[in-house]
Symmetry: D3
Subunit: 273 residues, 6 copies
């Protein structure tokens, strides 16, 4: 169960409105790697975590924080949209190319649909999707996704940071950037902790390791012309999982012949010989 | 440019059809973490990689291999669908609950839409989406996603592996599992190589680090009841990025007051006081 | 079965083209609350209405009218797109920021995909989705959605109305606004009629009322800081459904302890203690 | 900002697992009218509410409660999935049509993707979409949607309630049904309060009323054969908005002639006469 | 503008309910090539057709007919769902694997969401999308899509026809199959008429033909191993467009060197050498 | 299995960047009829083709070529985005409406998400969907879709061709236009070959022809006012399938009476009389 405080986790006040930037900031709210994604991702992972204690609590602490970020960015977008040109017409734009550019650069739904508030969509207007969260039940696999998610979302925050010179927006983003650093750090630390405690090891999921064809689990197949890829540590020497060495297959060939297509049920009306 | 061999990378022949399992196997073809996702993800990262040489080649080698996996799984699904009950009616099922169960457990589109072949959708029938690939241009950030993707897809392959006892299917999956291990290993190795070569470092993206509010980049906010999360290495001691120590905020408070909503343009017809 | 007249329900002719506005007008055609939504919603409700007579006829009368609105808006968008800058290049824009702004503010698909006609998408380019219609089979529940839909669509029409000064567009929208008023009125009237005739009553669905835990059906839980919400008629006094009084739970507590996560099947490779 | 309690708002423990029912229960979690929809809808409305005080607080109280419902249903689904047949193969099903039926009736992603936990999708596996929430900024319009949403979600809860005889599931749903009743009541009460306080009136949005063509705002157009629809209170007598009377157009005719299609830019390669 | 008749275009009455088949029949209603697709496709093409007269009228005649098909299939699905096991629980299924299979083979939304009526989705539950219609403004290009659409939808109708032995369903489908034949015939005839009248010719769009690099418009590149494809009429001899001969490129080579990736703006934080 | 060459099929180098055009070019990469659609469509058709030999090889030759087109367009988009205004803020735009227009006309995700590379989406930002490919197993039906697809994609390429004056972009598009011509020609030729070899005939699928109600397979129903449509070759005379003549139904009537709605299970809480 949750309790909501009216205060914000961090100040979220632009110096002045900027509707074109508001559309860009949507990426951090309702984008693939936006705040709603990580909020729902960590909460779903936490609720379904089979180990009581520190991992579960960490997931729920962080998921709950991300809800506060959803709130902060939502508030910021609404303020950036204050006074956005809702009633500016083609005629009004005619003498004012700058106004025309602003009208053209906005997300029209910021006026028409949400009436000056945010939408649950990304910076291209694509609605947020429940497929964007990941919660597999395997903590090592999921913490890898979490660390990766914080990396992608920090890159996006960094890019957006340079698209504004509004001191109020930049101030909030400096906080968000720092939290993205913390969360990258914490998931990387949690990955180490999981492995140190013997709960999981690489490659995930550890439980299936005996079933796989081991002879193919270290080979790099050179399938794009040139063997530049032979020069990295992924082509020879010990593998990070400590289970053997890498090797390089310079001129790979198909291991199986051309398959014979299955015969077709006549009721499928497929074209047959 | 690509060239296609008619042979398959690895043998992909079930001992007998199994249309219910074919639906499950769709997850590995057209699912969030299926073969089409990693194929397009690595190719897009590779084509847009700014560093000529080993990293770019590794991405294109692997993306090209994943196309062969799309082909293998597609072929397997078609063979699993051979003779699937395309013309079995309610009357035929009436005396045969087993047939009824099979008919009910299939993806109807495997007959109606694709005529005994695979669809570009996951095991719940959701179509593959272009939003599922990641290519940010930052290699460390993207390799993290790649390693995470191979973990998720190996878990899914492992789960599916246990849902069949068909020796032919299991044989192919033993190969896929091994390749998932290789790819986890190679991206983990590539992450180390990138950092060793000084091309990127944690937290990504390294170039923005001076802009963030450093005082918040090590704090764990305890926002879910109980302080179990204080017991992990993410709550105290040195951070993985080597830039300072973690700290624990046991009773966090909002840092900003309740925000004042922006005033509303009358043409938005928002409700105002 | 339907018959189509070539004439339009109402005049739909702009004074002059305006491709930027055409993109906005898409919200009223293919948006969440656009004409296609209400057309399909009322028709599906009508076809599936179990009561022959006035309710069914009202649904089909109105759904059929909404198809005429789909036609009117489609025609208007095509006319607004007449002569839209299909061949204007970067070079042509260079000396003409106003042209650049128009090119930038258009939906590119209005030229590339539909060749100067409308698309079945909203003002942000998101395709219309079959999930946007509602037809539950319960008339009171569905008429509530219908009245709400007409409210949302009228707000959007009103906002769009102020984004143009074209007398032809405004003339058509004055008609659409009036029809949105009519439809709000008619669904509100139909809600009253349903209740007066004893066909349904609040809260919907009436048939389940004896199963619910009555002690929780009047409580307002104060879960966001502050008790401002205690001051409304929803916190004390009689409920609209006439089944009891509201009450205010000022300091709510969870009614159940922390749940124990289910044990995990080993074949799921979840992380377990 | 939010704080999370480990306890649940209400007990959520099934007597025994039931993976087929778990798939159905997804509708209440990640469906069009599921808990995530109302949670995000009320929070977004609340954060963007321009009137400080009781309406805003009511929205945030209720949105925060809905997050607790997301948690309860998520927990219930995970428990219903305990021991779901993750490793049951075609061979195992052969002698056991009941097992085959269970395997066929499950959402395969409950094993393959989420490892025994819920997904953010509905009962047909369609991912939750950010387009399903509504927050227009007009409180009367939005409260109408809110009351309608609670009606739809209560119908769905009632239907699902009858698809199980598990006392634990039914106990939780009795609570959910009651909360749906409360929320229908509260939004209906809030609609009255808004109107009594003169903040909004019908038809919404009140501010545009003078612009519309009044002669069309009371007419029912008989566009589906038969005049059964003339018999309701929506066809004659006073309108609910108090702004005039209804009238019935028995044999409606198009008010405008067949439109002339716009001429086509040659660069669009449209077919022209 | 449209007028609706209460009668159906053709009889649509099953002999008895069959909820599992109802799910399959959804493909013909809300699938990629279902009735809603062709209805909206022909209407949008017709409304935007620049040539008054026979082509426009044909499009609108047929689009209007397809709306009647939407109605027929919707009605059939509702009747097939009559008495579908809405309240059958796990316990009831335990002794009745046949019932379990039926429950598992249904679309749960047919009960939970639409209350015994159709949904606007396909047989896998994927919602209908506005992206599935095509209307480019070029009649030859669009008639090609129309003829292709009728072929796909007839295949799907034929497959579904063999999945039932209900005489009532089969009777309706015999009509639908015939209409699919008619519509294939009419679009093929219209393609010929367009070309005979000199309005368009192959390859579409005819207006761009002088701009393309003619030397590449007849070459078949052999990019999949083996030269079986050299044996068809597409590899040598005159082309259907009458503009030259086909030729076969047996061992194709890239025509351009490896591209140099663009340099990266530092604010994008891409990894650079 | 595939092999990748580093060289491009054809030169793909713009003279100078143009981020606004890059957004438009996305339609040819990730749009409904873009290169990814035809690549996956032909490969899936080829892998599932039941006839070994020339048809299968043709499909795989062409599908493999389309992957090279995905690569060419991806590369072009990245180059067009070089130096796109990633850090241009509202303040910088204020004195420079041209810059403002460019910023407003871009897809923000080209900077924020993909860091100067392409996305797998269309020109309106809608993600590519697995539903956009077609592979039914019936070669005649699928080749019709293929010919239609090449027509639509050539129209889009032609439109985009006129939206740039960059000689490098135009040079690449001259090649793409020629390949679209080739592919239209080859699928039209393959349709003839299939019919000449007696593998399929019109209307598809030929195997169902005896089941349909023949009396309705030649009638044109005049359902939109006016009988202009009687004047085409689709209204009288021999049908293209050679199976009879067309006829014209000038005043069509419903063939079935108003349907009786099915009775409702009480547990569905539908509104009943
Ligand atoms: Ca290589
Ligand atoms: Ca905690
Ligand atoms: Ca409160
Ligand atoms: Ca009527
Ligand atoms: Ca070949
Ligand atoms: Ca006509």
């Amino acid at each position: 169960m949750f309790f909501h405080y009216k205060g914000l986790q961090f100040e979220s006040t632009p110096e002045r409105p900027d509707p074109v930037f508001a559309m860009k900031l949507q990426e951090l709210l309702g984008g693939h790697w936006g705040e709603l994604t990580v909020a729902m991702q960590y909460l779903m992972q936490g609720w379904n975590c089979r180990i009581p204690g520190k991992y579960k609590d960490l997931l729920l602490d962080t998921g709950t924080e991300e809800l506060a970020h959803v709130e902060m960015i939502s508030n910021m977008i609404a303020k950036l949209l204050e006074g956005a040109p809702a009633e500016q017409t083609a005629r009004a734009c005619e003498d004012n190319p700058m106004l025309a550019a602003i009208v053209g650069g906005q997300n029209p739904q910021h006026s028409i649909v949400s009436g000056g508030g945010p939408v649950l969509a990304d910076s291209a207007g694509t609605p947020w999707s429940g497929k964007w969260i990941v919660a597999s039940g395997n903590l090592l696999a999921d913490f890898r996704v979490n660390a990766a998610a914080e990396g992608q979302s920090k890159i996006q925050a960094a890019r957006v940071y340079n698209m504004t010179d509004d001191p109020g927006v930049k101030k909030m983003l400096k906080f968000n950037l720092a939290r993205d650093s913390m969360h990258q750090n914490q998931w990387l630390a949690a990955i180490e902790e999981l492995k140190d405690e013997g709960l999981e090891y690489d490659p995930v999921p550890s439980g299936i390791i005996d079933e796989e064809f081991d002879e193919y689990s270290g080979q790099l197949w050179n399938l794009s012309a040139g063997s530049d890829s032979a020069q990295g540590r992924w082509a020879s020497g010990p593998r990070p999982d400590g289970r053997g060495d890498f090797s390089y297959v310079d001129s790979p060939e198909p291991l199986a012949p051309e398959p014979t297509p299955p015969s077709a049920d006549p009721y499928l009306y497929a074209t047959v010989p």
